[in-house]
Amino acid sequence: MTAPYLRIRNVTKRFGAFTALDDVSIDIQRGEFVCFLGPSGCGKTTLLRAISGLDVQTYGSVEQDGRDISALPPAQRDFGIVFQSYALFQNLTVAANIAYGLENRKRPKAEIQRRVAELLELIGLPDSGPKYPGQLSGGQQQRVALARALAVSPGLLLLDEPLSALDAKVRAHLRDEIKTLQRRLGVTTIMITHDQEEAIGMADRIVVMRDGRIEQIGAPLEIYHRPANLFVAEFIGAMNLVPATWIGPNAIRLGAARLTCEAESYAPGAAVRAAVRPEDIICTGRANGHANSFQAEVRELEFVGPFFWLSLGGGELGEHRLRAQLPSQRARELDLRARDTTHLHIPAQNIRLFPQGVGHG
């Protein structure tokens, strides 16, 4: 593996007695698209500001492209940045905004103009150069902000919730555009978001944060299917978390059901939490041909278009509850109704176990 482009080592940030970042270490490869994901106040912006030098960390180091930039002021680092608020210069035209960083580099006028035209083309606003930011829509303004940041070809692109101020449709559209642009330019990118769909859809790797600490770093699939802990399991996507007992080897008791799973072993009789995604609970109706099956009653049935939400309880589940997703087409085949009793199957590899009570109550 090549040396990482960005090495963040043991970064801690204190605001007085408050610790906003606690011993954070991340390696980011060249050309990678990384999302920082976490609830509000978990320190995402603080970490980004440490990387950019806008608010230097209290302890720890940041290396970019083999250069130690830990203590450098922002002007001596190599990054472009885009904010939720766009931060466009309202009194300058779109073209002047994009040219802003270029003009300072004493480039010939013609070259600057060419570059601005190129960037306007790139963001799909070829005719908007003479307009003022106030005359553009939110999505267009954010694209201009992106072009302004990219104009000077930074080695690192930092995006702090660039899509949060936009409405859903524009957001989805711009999300794809940013992703495409990033692929095309190959610029190493860090994007902050607290929208997990956004992170899963865009990132090569996701850094899940909580309370100033990293909970997990991994590719979207990995984070989704193999959450490292209870917090990540609950934070990303929908997840059933039910108390169970380890009866080993590779088996738990959930209510009256015995389920096998692939997990490290616990002490016999240990209380654990079983984590199962709703879409991994397969409804087999009357048939019961699988090993990992149990019987339960459908308490509620909620139609949401492509699938149904099933609320399961009773039967072998006892007082435990599970929510399952049942594809609409399959539901039609089974002709499932509320109060029906049905068989359910969970593949062993889709059950994850977490120690009871650790990390989350």
Binding site: S52, S61, F89, L92
Partner: protein, 564 residues
Amino acid sequence: MAELALAAPRVRPRPGRDERLMGGALALVALYLIVTLLAPLLLMLAKSVQDRDGAWVGLANFSAYFGNPALSGAIGNSLWVSALSTLIVIALAFGYAYALHRSRIPFRGFFRLVALLPLLAPSLLPAIALVYLFGNQGALKGWLFGESIYGPIGIVIGSVFWTFPHALLILGAALATADARLYEASDSLGASRWRTFTTVTLSGARYGLIGAAFVVFTLIITDFGVPKVIGGPFNMLATDIYKQVVGQQNFQMGAVVSLLLLLPALLAFLVERWAQRRQVAGLSSRAVPYRPKPRRSRDLVALALAVAVAAMILGILGMAAFASLAKLWPYDLGLSLRHYDFSAADGGSWASYGNSLRLALYTALFGSLVVFVGAYLVEKSRVARPLRTAVHLLALIPMAVPGMVLGLAYIFFFNARGNPLNFLYGGMALLVLATIAHFYTVSHLTALTALKQLDPEFEAVSAALKTPFYRTFWRVTMPLCLPAILDIAMYLFINAMTTVSAVVFLYSPDTALASVAVLNMDDAGDTAPAAAMAMLIVVTCAGAKLLHLSLSRWLLHRTQAWRR
């Protein structure tokens, strides 16, 4: 892990060029404020516990002051006269603001304009006009039933005149931002009009009322112009400082009185800051603006009040104008411009008018520059947090310092032997410095407000684009804040034209000022030329205001492409 982090060395951010420049500029602004504000004030505090020769005497000056009823009587006088005037001003201004913002009277623009006119005049002007109206040869002398205008009556009326617009601006702001939903709620609960008025209108404006009351009280108790001209034998604190210093050369006693004057001003300052914060906090962003519906009885009363107040203001201004034009009051009322030729008058000249103009221009130019740069560094620079806080706190001091006190402090500081800045004494530069310091706070807060409206990440973007901060300051921050900068310049210009209190201690024969000339001519009995000079100031300020308005409008027009 925690031990590991603790053992690691703390990262010390390395300053780049931007950071060093910003830090340096910030230090300069701090130094500027220390020299032109803090150091003089501290020295004055020291003087109050020294004797003439500078030896420490503890509280001897204070006991001498309080042991002398002729002196300490001024405290009571100042307090009750200021309190009474404040009460009247607040009542009138509240009614007027109510008429402007909560009723449907016609000609609101006109009434607003008239109410703000006193801002353009030195506080000496109403006092002079009152002399003409109610003085020994006054046109309306009979209205006083034998009472003399020279004394508390004159001081109260004069004070009410010139502080009225200050109260109106604050109360106007408080009443302009009503939440219609509260009125609807009150209506739907079947509350009577009076109950709606007391529970919704009054309580909504309560912070405005408190704030305005304290501002006005401070303005009056620290004002020197009105009691000087029309106070007669009635002692007030502000006039006492003047008498002690200019009359008796007793600087120590002047310092003692100054300290006493600082107390109410300081208190008022703190209360006002508190009230302002509450006022802002009380406004939710979802408030629905209230539009008054026509109601005949209320509108008629409101109109009557507005007309009466406007008539009084115009009457006083008109009296001053007429006095300056009448050939020989009250014997020959033919009009002439002869009082505008100040050569015969004692203590005034066109040269002093020229000086005032220069003072106002320099103050506006240099002052708005210093203030804006200072506010920018406080608000936007990423460096030296403690220094930024210090500069901000320093900038707030002038609000709590009466002009007389500042002027006296300047004498102590700049006239001190051994002060390398001694050469400034008596010069125009010192007058400019004093005037900027005197009116620093409001300018600073105006600049901060404008700067806070800009996106907080401009500086971050600029740094990311490797553009020096001063380039972004010049190309983005300044143009975006230009209207506010113009407002500051205008504020400084008008105040420099009209102020008397600080500069009265600091001018020299070469730098005599128009506002001081009004005072001196009036003192020498040349009342008509004094009125003429006061009118000259009013006209100049009005002209400047018009220029400012057209400039602002032109700017708005030119920049409307990008202003949303």
